[in-house]
Amino acid sequence: MSNSSMGKKVVQWFDYRLPIFTFMHHSLVDYQTPKNLNYWWNFGSLAGIVLVIQIITGIVLAMHYTPHVDHAFDSVESIMRDVNYGWLIRYLHANGGSAFFVVVYIHIFRGLYFGSYKSPREVVWWMGLIILLLMMATAFMGYVLPWGQMSFWAATVITNIFSAIPLVGETITTWLWGGFAVGNPTLNRFFSLHYLLPFVVVGVVFLHLWALHRFGSNNPTGIDTKGPKDTVPFHPYYTIKDLFGLSVFLIVLLAFVFYAPNYLGHPDNYVKANPLVTPAHIVPEWYFLPFYAILRAVPDIWFVEAKLAGVIAMFTSILILFVLPWLDSSPIRSARYRPWYKQIFWFLVIDVIVLGISGAKPPEGVWLILGRVATVYYFIHFLILMPLIGRLEPTKPLPGSIDESVRQESGTQTSETTRKHS
């Protein structure tokens, strides 16, 4: 007992000087959270946890990995065969990368559906998009590290994108490679950056949360919290809900790790990189396929070469999301009360899936046409439909408060059950 009061005193002494415990208590325990968050809101904390899993497994892998063109592939095989539980750590890291994108894509689409990007959360949205861009760079460079055939050829194709820049493109590409082709300097710097960028992501995650906690989480109704009746403290309500979500998520992730560890990978990456042999189809990892489809969809436009136009379209497809808060003209956040937006939201989901599939197919025939249509629709969604629908759409009446909407929902549920019983 004297021990615990002693501990308390030490904590108080420290906290008085650096209020880190107050901060943690404030943002993880007392933090007032809308009480109507559904399970789609689990994916934010899941993304944070996957980031931690990736950093921990990544640090262990880096202890055994050799970033050299002659040894990288062999060192990965030695991790798989000779390092204690090396196979588990590597499969966790490889599938964890895919899981990270699944979680983050769901998190983003949740934000799109419930209008979480809208005022006053634009900066939360921006920080999230910066995290996405950093993740993509990190994932791409991580995929190069095992130095298999797909590693090498993906690196070649993607770095070549920069050669599309007029005048200085070739110089930039040579500078990125550290030579005249993808080689040992490229592998070395990719390893260095692959280790660095996740920590930059951690930094931006803090900014993301800082901006989030300024106004608190959005919620399925999209209306602001109006008082203590609308919220519950984060702990224990959302700590337990997030833990349950985490446990279910781990079942899915570990089912892949233990029973289909290479399902999301490409067989060619178990062939050592060979600059003299080009694989029949060079495809990126699944999470890049929609963007890859946009890259390849664009033909020559006037004086702009197809390659450059494709690169511009691909980067624009992400950058456009930064101005989404201003493209969306509706005063209402949640798609629940926006019948038209709800429809085009699901069209966008289907559109992105079509893009993903056409990105996996060779760019010819029906898949090229579908890829082109889907690319055009993607931009129509953001540039035309979002500004237009917000002005024209007949919206549904909003509930008076979160508390009221929760009561209405449970009320309807109760009346439904009574009806069933009677």
């Binding site: 009480k35 559904n38 399970y39 789609w40 062999d74 095989e77 798989m80 065969r81 196979w87 588990l88 499969y91 519950v232 224990p236 309500y237 337990i240 809900k241 833990l243 349950f244 446990s247 279910v248 781990l250 079942i251 570990l254 089912a255 790790v257 233990f258 029973y259 560890p261 290479n262 399902y263 490409h266 067989p267 060619d268 178990y270 062939v271 029949a280 189809h281 495809v283 699944w286 798609a335 629940r336 709800k342 699901w346 989901v349 289907i350 899936i353 993903g356 599939i357 996996a360 197919k361 929760v406 449970s410």
Partner: protein
């Protein structure tokens, strides 16, 4: 949109993606459609059939090893498929490796030891290509993971040669095999049946040999498969129970809110 409807739509979309993804994976092989075989190491409870792996080792050593290396597998690894130290010494002892330099600065040859990796039939990749009409026989240590279709592909390829070896030959020095992408393979039909005399008395039909060597090569590519599937079962069972408990706790914590 009700949560239930959202979940249903989400699930349907996931299934669509999963199905089309399978289509993509299959489409990537470019060869004839593979017949799915039953393998001892398939599924959640699958484990490598030790006797098949051992017979497969024999097929590899007596047939495949004449042309194909197995650079990531060491003789010591054979303990994992049930050989003891003396047996491994005997197997390794049939091969010679270059070692050195010794104290006089000279390279020398010695018999292979358990710590050595499977000895390659060639000095280097250039010699391998030169001895095989310009076509480099791939290393087999990862072939199970390096080809779309995995074990079914290896088995399909080994048993899929049609007609007599040169009857369908597509070009000088190439043989017809529908499972090989493009159909023209530089490797002549490797197994005919009775290529080996199995130590355990199993009849060495071509299909039997192909099955055994496929099992062996799958083990060579994924030697931790048994450990992985065993551990996975415990971990997943634990997580399922944990999820149930957490769900019950969540319900209890939230009871006064809804």
């Amino acid at each position: 949109m009700t949560p239930a409807r959202t979940w249903i739509i989400g699930t349907v979309l996931t299934v669509i993606v999963a199905i089309t993804n399978i289509g993509i994976a299959n489409g990537a092989s470019d060869g004839a459609h593979l017949t799915a075989q039953r393998w001892s190491f398939d599924g959640i409870f699958g484990r490598f059939d030790r006797t098949a792996v051992q017979r497969g080792l024999q097929v590899y050593l007596e047939v495949c090893a004449n042309c194909h290396s197995l650079e990531y597998v060491a003789y010591r690894n054979l303990t994992e498929i049930g050989y003891n130290e003396n047996q491994i010494k005997a197997i390794a002892g049939q091969y010679e490796v270059e070692d050195g330099p010794n104290n006089d600065g000279e390279m020398f040859t010695r018999t292979a030891q358990p710590s050595d990796y499977f000895v390659s039939p060639y000095a280097n990749a250039m010699e391998a290509a030169a001895m095989n009409n310009g076509a480099l026989p791939p290393d087999l240590s990862l072939i199970y993971k390096a080809r779309a279709g995995g074990a079914d592909y290896i088995y399909g390829l080994l048993t899929g040669y049609e007609g007599e070896e040169t009857e369908h030959s597509v070009a000088e020095g190439l043989y017809y095999n529908p499972y090989f992408p493009g159909g023209a393979i530089a490797m002549p039909k490797p197994l005919y049946g009775d290529d080996v005399e199995y130590a355990d008395g199993t009849t060495a039909s071509m299909e039997q040999e192909a099955r055994d060597v496929t099992t062996f090569l799958s083990w060579a590519a994924e030697p931790k498969l048994d450990a992985r599937k065993k551990l996975g079962l415990k971990v997943l069972l634990f997580l399922i129970v944990l999820s149930a408990l957490l769900f019950a706790s969540k319900r209890k914590v939230w009871r006064d809110i809804h």
